[in-house]
Symmetry: C2
Subunit: 217 residues, 2 copies
């Protein structure tokens, strides 16, 4: 997806792949904020993020997404979203209290919501390990986190401040993928309505329509 | 630990227990920054954080630490540390780039470092489940995260900007506990030296000396 020599570069390059919900969190932010951006495909499934060149050039932690903006190379979806919200003046907290509340949800997402759910989806839905003690453990933890978010969304449309913020983009990132996880999302009507509300935002696209993936996949 | 009627309240109250490394991250910040604070013991092991009153009064997510500062009730250790660094002007990033780098490490801590290691310690070291597929899974993930931090610390004394920041306080939080995890920390000499460097800061105390725990424990 890198432009040919002589072709114009977009303002932002997002190193990503369509299977990565953490990449999608940033891609969706760039898309909804109408930024000039382009995806750069990372061949994760053939080990691209684990190679020394990737670690030296882009991220010592060996992960996508990586956002390149001018001289800056930014990693960790929550940090990138915070950077973009500040830089663009969009989808961030409106004051210091709201910014802290947004950060609180992004941390919860990294600690308990995306972390358990995305790992469950990876093992059960992509690697197809079948049911194991590990998938059972991850599912129980993910269900507990879903229960907390379901309760929070019972009486508000978005996680913070009754409007779309990067907290929503962070937590919703994995919820548009269809791989099986053994979790019946019909149990969580408020979460479903919230994901639908985000999908109704002008410009919204599915992860598979925003980012490239394995050509053979 | 709550003061008796008529007794002066400290400026900060930290709802916590000594077994919680996430509580310790905040307790250590308050201690190293020489704040006027007091711990308030939460009877986690008897279910205090799971009760409706705790969720309604302090944290809908049912977790410690909770920091009470005047009218504010703050949760998520990474958000509390960020609040305190900004409010006190201590141990935070010095500019927007450094603040983002601090946030990146705190997110990594929540996603992959503390999350796997603390859960492993809880199951293997406190609940004493013995070795199971889940403890093996968590240990492999924790070891991968330790390896990344070890490499990062090979040529610098602290995680960000060559001085102590809240990123260090976040990642180091669980490393002073002695419960078995099946991880031999001698494999990670740079991490050990870094934890010793933090323990050498003026005013440093062990978690068991900063926070109350189960009186029978």
């Amino acid at each position: 997806m890198a432009p040919a020599p002589g072709e114009d570069m977009a303002e932002y390059q997002l190193h990503c792949m369509k299977e990565s919900g953490n990449s999608y969190k940033v891609a969706l932010m760039l898309q909804l904020a109408r930024c000039d951006w382009q995806p750069v495909w990372v061949d994760y499934f053939n080990g691209a993020t684990r190679r020394d060149e990737f670690r030296q050039e882009f991220n010592e932690l060996g992960e996508v997404p990586v956002l390149v903006h001018g001289e800056k190379k930014l990693t960790q979806s929550g940090a990138i979203l915070t950077y973009l919200a500040d830089h663009l003046g969009k989808f961030g907290g409106r004051d210091s209290d709201e910014k802290l509340e947004v950060l609180r949800w992004i941390l919860f997402d990294n600690h308990k919501f995306t972390s358990y759910y995305a790992t469950l989806r990876f093992l059960f839905g992509l690697q197809k390990t079948g049911e194991t003690p590990v998938t059972e453990f991850l599912r129980a933890r993910a269900l507990a986190a879903f229960g907390l978010v379901e309760k929070h969304l019972a009486d508000q449309d978005f996680l913070v401040g009754n409007r779309l913020t990067i907290a929503d983009l962070s937590l919703v990132g994995y919820l548009y993928y269809d791989e099986p996880t053994g979790i019946d999302r019909r149990q969580f009507p408020h979460i479903r309505a919230w994901a639908d509300r985000i999908a109704a935002q002008p410009g919204w696209k599915h992860p598979h329509d925003l980012m490239p993936g394995n050509p053979a996949g």
